[in-house]
Symmetry: C2
Subunit: 298 residues, 2 copies
Amino acid sequence: MNLSALGEDKLLARLLPMLPRRGAVIVGAGDDCAVVAAPKRGKLQLLKTDCIVEGIHFTTKSSPISVGWKAMVRPLSDFAAMSGVPQFALVTMIVPAERTVDWIRRIYRGLEKAARAFDVAIVGGETSGIEGPAVISVSVTGVVEKGRWVGRGGGKADDELFVTGRLGGSLRVRHLKFTPRITESRWLTKNFRVHAMMDLSDGLGADLPRLARASGVGFTVDETALPLNRGCTAEQAISDGEDYELLFAISPKDSRSLPARWRKKFPRIPLTRIGRLNPQSAIHNPKLQPGYVHFKQR
Amino acid sequence: MNLSALGEDKLLARLLPMLPRRGAVIVGAGDDCAVVAAPKRGKLQLLKTDCIVEGIHFTTKSSPISVGWKAMVRPLSDFAAMSGVPQFALVTMIVPAERTVDWIRRIYRGLEKAARAFDVAIVGGETSGIEGPAVISVSVTGVVEKGRWVGRGGGKADDELFVTGRLGGSLRVRHLKFTPRITESRWLTKNFRVHAMMDLSDGLGADLPRLARASGVGFTVDETALPLNRGCTAEQAISDGEDYELLFAISPKDSRSLPARWRKKFPRIPLTRIGRLNPQSAIHNPKLQPGYVHFKQR
């Protein structure tokens, strides 16, 4: 059966009972808005929306469960980047009328799997038709303690730069299956003063300059130190994108104890010092940065 | 210049300084998530996402400013439906690479105009390409007092049913220019006990059965009483959709003083009693509902 034969109300009625709930959900999907409890005192709210588009972020041949997973974990990776705790998600599925209900149901299974894995409640669903590729848009709200959120703009000269995991070659498979680094990010900010942090979605070569620019500093990177995925070159690690690893800046003093404590806590996830921030802006002094031609200078 | 030539970072950098801010916005667009102040005590949070798709909700010939307006006011109409106060919006623009930056800028102008009109801060923007029609997805968060939100499920037998404004014929122009009934909805819940409420997006014939079903009751409608837009028939008022007027249920006792007080407060907006809820479910007893064949029986 395809979507146009079933109708939106019936589709949502079939899908929504599968969705996870939390005590904080007062009205979930099915009314005009979702109604949820407000954050506790001392918390700030985080908001993020992201989308994936067929033909760009996935293909018609991608596993629908993986596509649903990716649609949910992409905005969750932005919560990791700020050291926030995601809580509630709204999902918009825009699909051509001839797509089967089974395909949509499997997309939802992937969305739900990711939501459960990170204790997120899907509190609303919207669907629309389209004469073109499918689009899945996911908006997430959550919280972070007032003193604990980490933006891109707090980096200081001489901060050490670290990345989690390995970089490059993600587009073969891993971009559909990655795990957002929420646990790791929360541990980092519980135990260290992280000055600036972001997730690597467009590749180190595009993202690190954004962090440096937001912090008003430059950077140097030791390309030979980059943690590479199997079969990848340093250039791929810099340019491929969709790694969804954390990039963060931390003072030299704090960084001394970090590697050993990290290894003990997360023995299976590499943590690599890849360079440092410096007072010279790489953006304004491109000549000071020979060898970093891969890094975007804008 | 088109989108692919300019690039996402530069586009957002050009657009975002125009966006309205509020004191509550700690980090707006440009970081991984938006960071905003949490609601005050005694408030609940409301969440809503909606999208409009080219070829379905607007055409390539629609005025981009009106398209942007519509993309923002559609979710705001759902806030009106719950009697909530919208606060923060996230916008996702999915546009083919060949679309001009001027078109996108005018879409944003419409989004911004609607956001300002209802004191909403656009705190995040995302863009993506697509090989197909443009899509604009808007997510909105806001608040409502704990005792004040109105769902679809609180209607009681013998409640009177009212609609604001006039119905039918919206697709000619009005669907791109409508005003969400937030002010009216807030006034209603401040002054009356509204049992159930929703906004009419799919047409009275589809939406009223949803309200009745959620409330576990039936309904009768006086088709001759329906407030019609100029040149429309009762059938159009029931079936056309995209009216974005409020439909609500209120006790017979409360409804006595409502029309006169409404006329005094909102002299230019009609308020019409169109029928009532009743204990017999129209869904289970279709034979009791002769004449209401336009109303969806599912």
